[in-house]
Amino acid sequence: MQFELFIAIFLPIIIGIIVYMIKSEKLRNILVIACTALVMLSSVLIVHHGNFSLEMGQLGSLPWNSIIEVLDLALGLFILYISISLKNKNLILLSALQVLPMFIFENFTGANLEINKVIYADHLSIIMNIIISFVGTLIWIFAIGYMKDDEEHKKVYPSRQNRFFAIILVFIGAMNALVFSNSLIWVYFFWEITTLSSYLLIGHDGTEEAQESAVRALLLNSIGGVAFVAAIIIAYYQIGTVDIQKIISSKSSGLAMVAIGLLCLAAFTKSAQIPFHKWLLGAMVAPTPVSALLHSSTMVKAGVYFIIRLAPTFYGTRMAFVISLYGGFTFVAASLMAIGQSNGKKILAYSTISNLGLIISAACIDNTTAVAAAIMLMIFHAVSKALLFLCVGTIEHGIGSRDIEDMRGLINRMPFTATITVIGLVTMLLPPFGVLLSKWLVIETAAKNPILVFMIAIGSALTVVYYTRWLGLLLSRSSDNETIKYEKISGYIRLPLTILSVTAITISTFITFILNRLIVPAVTQYYNWLGLVGMEGTIEETYGSFSLWPVFLALGIAFAGCYISLKSQSGFAHPYMPGETSKSYKVIKINGKEDALPDLKVRNYYFGGLLSEERLTPWLKLIATALIICAFGVILL
């Protein structure tokens, strides 16, 4: 087991450091591809092995725990140094509030922070590991092709790709370590590494906007960091340990719940929930692989992963009730703001925030099926959202714009990318694919909670609106006079897009297999009973069931019927245009004066500024903050 762990955690870090130091692009690409293959292999081996736990004794003469503590201190001081050099008072305060208490707590209070089984992998960790290892490494391959074009576009000499690749490689290693760590101190260390990587990567381009967004990300994530440190200290004094498994199995109440609440708060900042969501929107200025990797499928998933991991502690408490309302509120609010957007990356960012809110909400409903639904949504959302971000990045390079209005008729100009984007949108939106199935499961389990189910119902309808109109835009075509061009893209980009889209469809087809093999064991390990089972193409749950195979069959018949019908069709017609087309009039006369005819412009309905960010955000932040305060308040009741 040590070998697979080494590959999963240390190999990316080591190769990242090597890649930073070499200048040759070819060698770097080879190293990254080799790392990809090895990390994927290690992940498969870990799945095959199943649950495990390890003691990490000593490296040479130093215990691992001390190494991590020293590295943590170094990291904290580095972030403090960055904040001082940025002259940002808030940031200095927040980083000092993290470094000093940790230092004092670790060294001067005589706390025993040694843990026996500090590497602990249950099915939840293994699921996260698969997501990180497969989706993350495919994004590495995509980045090879994408960054080359990107630096050509932005005219970056000398190339800064070595810095970029080094950070994303180290990041994956840190994420893998995060999901396998059992000690709060270790989790905190890797958590902070992800914060730092996010800061460095968002500011990669070096423009003023990028720098501003990076600082905002660091600031908001540092709030989470302070909450985390406070939680560690309170947890140690209230429960007596920083071992996560022991914390989960102890029935905590009172002040110990405050620690859990603070950990949830840290997760909220990491997962960009309202009111901490501004940083994720600003992070969209980063290059696309960063958005796909950090800000949709892995780093923000660390927050919700942690909440799902802690869910057994507050299962059924009032705090869980309030947090589920909070998650549902984020779901609805972010969907509402996504409707008023036409910037493709911002739509995807708001969609990510809303889906993460739904995962948090599901994890806190007092029904074990809901926790399974949360895990399911986490898996499927990671794959589909990463795919969509990669597609938007490719489209941006192809047409030079992120606005979905400019993507009208993309199927004619970039058929491969447009088809993959359509597949991504369909898997995010419709049955029988995974994201909608998990949404179905969440509604079924949330139905006992009226306020929550209202929010989820409205949010789900809003989701359909902003994805369907994007889908329709891409397929805009008049077949009688438009030809489909052949699209030239590099193999480095074609391969991850193809693999991810095939994966998205395949995991939805085999959802019952994933459910039984991975998700159900992940839940039954901590809760006694789970009324969810997948069998023969149907998901059976206590209150309902979803049969997948009829839907696939119907869609298959529809495709076949369409193909047969198109083969024997006589031709294509022109879209309906009454009267004269305006092209025949060059000039028109208005009130006797000649005037040029304005161009016809068709746009989606974006609610005309009614649902703009500026109008809504203050109110939404207010409600969200009130809900968080409520969550802590009910602990006292």
Partner: protein, 281 residues
């Protein structure tokens, strides 16, 4: 089992067509006219199938087939007593693809019609989900098979949700004041709206899919009265008559009105009903 499949796939749309035919006849009589024969919708569909088969692009054809398949599947699933929430989501595949098909055409009428159709979906989908949640709160399950094991009808505990069905049915049946994106008869403000660029056999398929949707929603309305299924059928037909009445006395209103009406009135009614249920139990 085979009988159920055949009944669902063949008889239900025929029933839907008859209801649409009766709808046109009743509307005509209300307006003091004779009106078309009862089987008129069938004549329309057959005639459309005999016309030349053209479309504007390939995705229109795909969208029509997916719309047809998902509407047919949702009726079949209802007759096989599956999960109601699943049925609603399957129906929404078709509705989403109808919008995609219209948006794939570069004609301003289709584009505006598609946007309005999206707003219509935004209006009725939460209400329909909430109706199913109401049924779950009363029965303890989302499955139609559990609902059909009851001995007392759900209408006694879900009266307000039955009224919410009027809004949902009005939007789905494209009756005034909700016939904003397309309508039964030609209101030519945006020509035929979301269906403008469909012609011939493809238009016939959208019409038959519409019949499937109609029978699905009327069956859900009839479920409120199970096990008195005679009362269920009568109430479903009464709902249709109420819709026709409202259609004839009101004008078409705007998208903003429809959204605010369905959210304020619809969600309030659903909230009151579900809230009362939640506190009583």
């Amino acid at each position: 089992m085979i009988l159920k499949v055949l009944f669902a796939l063949i008889c239900m749309p025929l029933i839907g067509g008859l209801i649409v035919g009766a709808d046109r006849k009743l509307t005509a009589r209300m307006q003091g006219r004779f009106g078309p024969p009862l089987l008129q919708p069938f004549y329309d569909v057959v005639k459309l199938c005999l016309k030349q088969r053209v479309s504007v692009n390939e995705f229109q054809v795909l969208s029509v087939f997916i719309y047809f398949a998902s509407s047919a599947l949702s009726v079949l699933l209802l007759l096989l007593r599956s999960d109601l929430l699943m049925i609603i989501f399957v129906m929404s595949i078709g509705a989403a693809f109808l919008v995609v098909g219209a948006m794939s055409v570069r004609s301003p009428y289709s584009q505006v019609g598609a946007q309005r159709e999206l707003m219509q979906m935004l209006s009725y989908e939460p209400l329909l989900i909430l109706v199913t949640v109401g049924m779950y709160l009363v029965t303890g399950s989302f499955k139609v098979s559990k609902i059909m094991m009851r001995s007392t009808p759900m209408i006694a505990e879900l009266p307000l949700l039955f009224f919410v069905m009027i809004i949902i049915l009005g939007i789905k049946m494209r009756k005034s004041p909700f016939d904003i994106s397309a309508s039964e008869h030609a209101h030519q403000e945006i020509v035929k709206g979301v269906l403008t660029d469909y012609s011939g056999p493809y238009l016939a398929m959208t019409e038959v899919a519409h019949w499937y949707d109609l029978t699905l929603l009327l069956s859900i309305a009839a479920l409120f009265f199970y096990p008195y299924w005679i009362w269920g059928i009568i109430s479903a037909l009464a709902l249709v008559v109420v819709e026709i009445l409202i259609d004839n006395v009101s004008a078409r209103l705007t998208v903003k009105w429809m959204l605010s009406y369905s959210y304020i009135v619809g969600i309030t009614l659903a909230a009151v009903n579900i809230g009362v249920l939640y506190f009583v139990r």
